[in-house]
């Protein structure tokens, strides 16, 4: 793990800051491709500081020879596209020779004396350098990208191809222009600056993919046999739709944009009834509208998968920020009781596999499945090994019959609770899939036919499916890493996995005995597996991106188990590595309180600290 070696680092943290519309994202995309195609690992996330005028955006990435798990901490290089970027981020510079800020010296003021010793103000006279190209304001990004390539010692050829791919063959002229401008920046840097000597970015030559969980979910959907995806646009789930839409005709899948989320899930359920694997996706607000239909799926036993990409709530909340605040919404969705599954994938790769698993579980158990992601997991970008995903995935549809006898009952009361499905078009299989309570034939018992014993039988039949599901998922629900027994156990669920993994590796490097439990299934709750793990826990800290400790509540509700230490963050940003590391380390110091809640936006100002002996 060279990431922690401050002498010579095989990693770099780079920030690109600018106003919305400055081309921050497209610059990030080109640099991402350059790093990835150089055989480097890469992890990026965008932060939108919407309180700042113009809508300030900062794209933060870490790239390294070894795997990277977070977007990193303080920057080695900041590409500042406006004055705000310098003013807001100058304090986050990593001291060290050659670290610095690349900026347009025509427009942005930066006092070199205000920088730490050894760091550099990489001023670019953008006007002079781009005069021959017509002084397009967006050229400063391209110019700065060329400087970045030189300072980091990356391959010009790989970069040039990434630029050309970004614009495509249709915009060859624009691509040419950008290559020329970038070259100008590269050559200017060659004449004025030195490459950063102690940052050595050496790739392993391996081709990796760049994706976030939204793309992984979309890819998992098509690989897993989903042929119907219906959705209403909502950040941060829309990228699933955006990936599927242009490919739908090629793959023969219907990607249906609907009038609202209610229509989206109801259409998916209709498609599921006709026999296709159907899915829908949204964020918290849209999911709230879908909840009644999840119950429809539950009682009619028609499979459906609903992706819930969480963002800051409640209500419209923080549309472009991350949070793990919808756990109870997912668990409690809709009126009444019905069997369901809730997956919370822990990484981009896992989002792919959890999608396939969701489609399988939905059909095998004829239940609604909720796939919980969040803005961080869905919208960040990282390098993924192509071998981590495959199209050779199992497609398990559960019992479906192509012909039926006179005794066929759609909702037959079987030992497993799963009744063979029949799709419309099969002679003799006619039945009504009813949202009122019904008997084994699907005949309504709700009003004048009310029949308590049938009601009891049907509820028990449906819930019996959870027994099989719980058995199937029992030991796939918790990912455990590190030694079997440790002085401290890090506990998380969903998207915090890689950050906690990084914390564990860092503490391990310091000689501390730390292990890590990450929950990837929230329902059915892995009660038995959790109880087994808790028997060997000495001290645990539960880290989650919400205010009230939703997972801690779920854990206690389902197992009676508690965790003494809690670290929570709800400012809309993901956990940053260093402050979290310091907090976690503090728990291992002598005299640390027995029970502690750290609920803070910055994590260095505890808002509420409780020290109570149980």
């Amino acid at each position: 793990m060279e990431v922690f070696n401050r002498m010579e680092r095989q990693s770099a943290v780079v920030w690109i800051g600018g106003a919305a519309g400055d081309g921050v994202a497209s610059t990030g995309d080109i640099l991402a491709k350059t790093c990835s195609r150089s055989g480097l690992h890469y992890f990026a996330q965008s932060s939108y500081q919407s309180v700042i005028r113009g809508g300030h955006v900062v794209y933060q990435f870490q790239t390294a020879s070894a795997p990277v798990y977070t977007h990193g901490d303080n920057f080695d290089l900041l590409i500042a596209l406006n004055q705000d970027s310098v003013d807001l981020h100058i304090k986050s510079i990593q001291p060290g020779v050659g670290r610095g800020i690349v900026f347009n010296s025509d427009k942005v003021k930066l006092d070199a004396a205000s920088l730490p010793a050894g760091t550099v103000a990489y001023g670019l006279p953008v006007g002079d350098l781009t005069a021959e190209f017509g002084r397009n304001p967006v050229m400063q990004n391209t110019l700065a990208s060329g400087v970045f390539i030189y300072l980091m010692g990356l391959s010009w050829d790989i970069f040039e191809k990434a630029v050309r791919d970004q614009f495509g063959k249709k915009k060859a002229e624009i691509a040419d222009l950008n290559v020329k401008v970038a070259r100008k920046g590269f050559e200017y840097a060659q004449s004025k600056f030195q490459p950063i000597k102690d940052i050595v970015l050496k790739g392993d030559g391996k081709a990796r993919m760049l994706m976030g969980a939204n793309q992984a979910i979309a890819l998992g959907a098509v690989a897993g046999g989903c042929t119907f995806y219906s959705a209403y646009p909502m950040t941060p789930a829309s990228a699933i739709m955006h990936w599927l839409a242009p490919r739908a005709a090629k793959y023969g899948i219907v990607m249906k944009q609907c009038e609202d989320e209610i229509a989206s899930i109801n259409m998916a359920i209709g498609a599921g009834y006709s026999g296709v694997r159907a899915m829908t996706g949204t964020s918290g607000g849209g999911f709230a509208l879908m909840t009644e239909a999840l119950g429809l799926s539950g009682i009619t036993e028609i499979p459906v998968v609903a992706v819930l990409v969480q963002r800051g709530g409640p209500s419209t909340g923080l549309p472009t920020k991350t949070e793990q605040g919808d756990l109870f919404q997912a668990l409690g969705a809709g009126q009444g009781e019905y069997p369901k599954a809730v997956f919370a994938p822990i990484s981009v790769e896992d989002a792919f596999h959890a999608t396939v698993q969701s489609l399988n579980v939905a059909e095998k158990y004829q239940i609604p499945v909720i796939l919980l992601s969040d803005l961080l997991l869905s919208e960040h970008l990282e390098t993924v090994d192509p071998e981590a995903v495959t199209n050779k995935v199992p497609i398990e549809r559960g019992p479906v019959v192509g012909s039926v006898g006179p005794d066929y009952k759609r909702y037959a009361d079987t030992p497993s609770g799963v009744s063979p499905r029949v799709f419309p078009g099969v002679e003799g299989g006619q039945h009504v899939a009813a949202s009122d309570e019904h008997d084994e034939d699907g005949v309504l018992i709700s009003d004048i036919f009310t029949n308590p014993s049938t009601r009891v039988k049907m509820v028990k039949k449906r819930f019996r499916k959870m027994d099989g599901l719980a058995r199937e998922l029992a030991f796939q629900s918790i990912v455990k890493e590190g030694p079997a027994e440790a002085d401290l156990t890090l506990v998380g669920w969903g998207s915090t996995y890689k950050t906690l993994k990084n914390i564990r590796l860092a503490l391990e490097k310091e000689g501390l005995k730390v292990n890590h439990l990450q929950f990837r299934v929230a329902w059915p709750f892995p009660t038995e597996a959790a109880a087994k793990e808790w028997r060997s826990i000495k001290k645990a800290v539960l880290v989650e991106n919400n205010y009230s400790g939703l997972f801690a509540k779920l854990l206690r509700q389902e197992t009676g188990l508690t965790v003494a230490h809690h670290i929570r963050k709800f400012d809309g940003e993901p956990f940053n590595f260093s402050p979290l590391l310091e907090r976690v380390k503090g728990l291992l110091k002598p005299g640390a309180p027995d029970i502690q809640y750290l609920v803070s936006s910055e994590l260095d100002i505890p808002i509420k600290r409780v020290a109570v002996t149980a």
């Binding site: 990796r208 993919m209 760049l210 994706m211 793309q215 098509v222 897993g224 046999g225 042929t227 119907f228 219906s230 739908a248 005709a249 090629k250 023969g252 899948i253 219907v254 990607m255 609907c258 009038e259 609202d260 209610i262 229509a263 109801n266 259409m267 998916a268 359920i269 209709g270 498609a271 599921g272 009834y273 006709s274 026999g275 296709v276 159907a278 239909a293 429809l296 009619t300 993924v384 192509p386 995903v389 199209n391 995935v393 497609i395 799709f423 419309p424 078009g425 099969v426 002679e427 003799g428 299989g429 006619q430 039945h431 009504v432 899939a433 009813a434 949202s435 009122d436 005949v443 309504l444």
Partner: protein, 294 residues
């Protein structure tokens, strides 16, 4: 004139479940006409899916021998569109009431109209919420006293036919459940129509709507086809849709040919019914997909 199927032929759509509607309910006529229309079109009960929302009339799928779904209040049309997109070889009929389709479900209704998926939507319009024992519905006339409007309804009634016409419907018709044969003919045309077809049926509630009775309608209804109506004329259709207090038009107000949704979406148009598609990605598609991320 269409030669309608005999009651004997229609009996293949008879369910073992006896309808739970009040004696005299207009919905009996709708059920009967739907069975006749399906038999007239030689539809096999195994290839028919009847999807409803929630309400008295939405219990209809239980009373017809076919595949069926009984879904959520207002959502039947959304579910039905999903069924049709999932397998467009099926005949899909959505049924429901005025509260279900023009109240809580009006958003799905208007978008289904413009989307033009090949299916039929039959609304049993009794101008009242019956199952919940008599509150005003979106089509309750002004001044009518109901449990929720004891001083008389102070809202204008919605005009579903006008709404559908303005929404870009390719087939808009009105029937009357007191005219079984006329209604069966309209339904036959609606189901045979390629595209989204709306049949608004005047279907009296004998328990909670004491104003819009069979007798009230009989005094007003007339058949468009007897008046030389041009169903390809939007102007004529709109004009007919505006009639209400003095006279009420029955028949096909409007019918035009428009491409259906499933004819235009390559996934359904070129690959056949979705339910028959091969699942997963081929090796070549998979490799190409991964390459795009590199």
């Amino acid at each position: 004139m269409i030669e309608l199927a005999t009651p004997q032929a229609a009996s293949k759509f008879r369910s073992e479940i006896k309808p739970t509607w009040c004696p005299g309910c207009g919905d009996f006529g709708v059920l009967n006409s739907l069975q006749t229309a399906c038999a007239t079109l030689n539809i096999n009960p195994k290839d028919l899916v009847v999807v409803s929302g929630i309400g008295c009339s939405s219990n209809l799928p239980g009373f017809i021998h076919s595949y069926g779904m009984h879904t959520l209040h207002g959502r039947g049309v959304a579910v039905a569109q999903g069924v049709k997109l999932g397998n467009h070889a099926l005949t899909v009929v959505a049924t429901g009431g005025d509260g279900d389709g023009y109240g809580i479900g009006v958003g799905h209704f208007i978008h289904a109209v413009r989307r033009n998926i090949n299916m039929t939507y039959i609304v049993m319009n009794n101008q009242i919420y019956g199952l919940t024992t008599g509150q005003a519905s979106p089509t309750t006339s002004r001044s009518v006293k109901t449990k929720s409007t004891p001083g008389g309804n102070i809202e204008n009634a919605l005009n579903p036919l006008g709404l559908a016409l303005m929404g870009g419907a390719s087939f808009v018709a009105r029937g009357f459940s007191g005219d079984a044969n006329g209604l069966a003919e309209i339904m036959t045309k609606a189901i045979a129509h390629k595209g989204f077809s709306l049949v608004d049926v005047l279907s009296p509630c004998v328990t909670y709507n004491k104003m819009n009775t069979y007798a009230w309608f009989r005094e007003r209804v007339y058949r468009l086809e007897e008046k030389g109506h041009d169903a390809t004329s939007m102007e004529a259709a709109l004009k007919a849709s505006l009639d209400w207090d003095q006279r009420i038009a029955l028949g096909v107000l409007y019918q035009v040919e428009r491409p259906t949704y499933e004819e235009q979406d390559p996934a359904t148009a070129e690959f056949g019914p979705l339910v028959t598609h091969k699942l997963g990605l081929s090796d070549s598609d998979w490799q190409a997909a991964l390459k795009e991320f590199m």
